[in-house]
């Protein structure tokens, strides 16, 4: 085998021994499974307490979102080997993705403002459109 590179473009060198590699794959698989199971448990808790306080449901949703980000981290860094790439390259991928911070906050804020305007006739009349009695739940921010 050796590490003779067959083409000047192919620069990947496997640093890890077979044993280490399989240990990492096994570890990440177990992590992903456990994280998914916790997420499921959270989903079912939301189902069980859906008439509970909107605050508690919202906190569980935030928790599930955090767990999803953790899963995304494990998939990209280990399965996609982004963690093994050159640091400068890694940054050219990750820094543009920071745009999502603005993207998510701005648009969810906008959606919420849109609902407020709909329900109050652009802020002039309170509760033009009544909030539906939901068999599920009204939106997270139904109170105003």
């Amino acid at each position: 085998m050796g590490h003779q590179l067959p083409s000047p473009e192919v620069t990947y060198v496997e640093h890890k021994s077979d044993k280490d590699f399989y240990a990492i794959v096994k570890k990440v698989t177990i992590y992903l499974t456990i994280l998914t199971l916790i997420e499921l448990a959270c989903g079912l808790i939301i189902y069980k307490i859906h008439h509970g306080s909107p605050g508690a449901v919202f906190m569980i949703k935030i928790l599930v979102g955090g767990l999803t980000l953790l899963k995304a981290f494990y998939i990209t860094s280990s399965f996609m080997h982004l963690g093994d790439e050159n640091k400068n390259f890694r940054l050219t991928i990750l820094i543009p993705l920071l745009l999502f911070t603005w993207f998510i906050i701005a648009f969810l804020y906008e959606g919420n403002a849109w609902k407020r305007n709909k329900n109050t006739n652009v802020g002039t009349v309170e509760h033009v459109e009544a909030v539906h009695p939901a068999f599920g739940r009204p939106g997270i921010h139904a109170e105003h």
């Binding site: 473009e9 496997e14 079912l44 390259f89 745009l99 959606g111 939901a134 139904a142």
Partner: protein
């Protein structure tokens, strides 16, 4: 032998690439980054619409079916199975890429085949789920005020707010004879009763629907739910499908010994990146549509 060089031109001596990575692999990463923004834009538009709505269907009620389990209420069970299938097919892809690094042709073939099977299983699950949603009829209080049967489509769904018994009684009076017959047929089927529907009078039909024990009727749900659900899971499913085709091509090329002749299995690595990305997107689709 000094040569005049323009002072504003920056010369680079070449050598190892600054990212220490082949052009193809770097470009695959940048493609995936742009694709992440496409998916992100779709999911964020879903979030915006959901935040702007006073009512949104609860996923635990919408996605509670499992193949061959009839009407058992199993919230999230089937989609969890789909998630595990995709995670496991991602793991076999990692093993295929690793076998490629070791120039192990047999290993690459074996793990690619397992990955392809996993992808096909996922697509099969999605086909079942779509069929279930598009054909599963529910008694619903329609927008024209009558009671009738609808399925989940891009124009409506039966997952709106719960209708009160008074509203149901009023809506029954507005239902046409055909609507009543189809509803009573559905009730007879689901409660395993032998009803002679054709012989029943209009009033009989109305009473049968009204007196059905445990009848749960919702208003029509937000039409955007169907559009967003089918649009986004469809776009993801299309990615799974194209990943599957890429993996099949990689399998054939491995089998024919193309990568062995080339001296490296880097193509498997690029296909693997795409496949992992598909899994990565599913993690977020799973979060946005099924969990919260």
């Amino acid at each position: 032998m000094a040569q005049a060089i323009q002072s504003d031109v920056k010369w680079w001596a070449g050598g190892r690439s600054p990212f220490n990575m082949s052009y193809g692999k770097a470009m695959m990463w940048y493609f995936l980054m742009s694709d992440a923004f496409t998916f992100g834009a779709f999911l964020i538009s879903y979030g915006t619409i959901r935040f702007s709505s006073n009512f949104w269907p609860d996923p635990n009620y919408v996605f509670n079916a499992f193949p061959f389990m009839g009407h058992a209420n199993l919230p999230l069970a089937f989609v969890s199975l789909m998630t595990f299938i995709l995670i496991i097919s991602s793991v076999t892809m990692v093993l295929a890429v690793h076998a490629g690094h070791k120039m192990d042709k047999k290993g690459v073939e074996k793990y690619l085949l397992l990955t392809i099977l996993g992808g096909a299983a996922f697509l099969g699950c999605q086909a079942w789920e779509w069929t279930h949603m598009l054909t599963g009829e529910y008694i619903t209080l329609l927008n024209d005020g009558s009671l009738g049967l609808i399925t989940t489509t891009t124009t409506g769904n039966p997952y709106g707010p719960t209708a009160t018994p008074e509203a149901i009684a009023a809506a029954l009076q507005l239902s046409s004879h055909e609507q009543l017959v189809s509803m009573v047929n559905l009730i007879a089927h689901e409660t395993h009763q032998n009803l002679d529907v054709a012989a029943m009078s209009h009033a009989d039909l109305i009473n049968t629907v009204k007196n059905t024990a445990g009848l749960h009727v919702n208003h029509v749900g937000p039409s955007l739910f169907g559009g967003l659900f089918f649009g986004i899971t469809g776009f993801h499913g299309f990615h799974v499908f194209s990943g599957l085709v890429i993996n099949i091509i990689m399998f054939i090329k491995t089998r024919l010994g193309h990568f062995e002749q080339r001296g490296h299995y880097e193509m498997i690595e690029k296909a693997g990146l795409y496949w992992h990305f598909v899994d990565l997107v599913w993690v977020f689709v799973f979060l946005c549509f099924y969990l919260i």
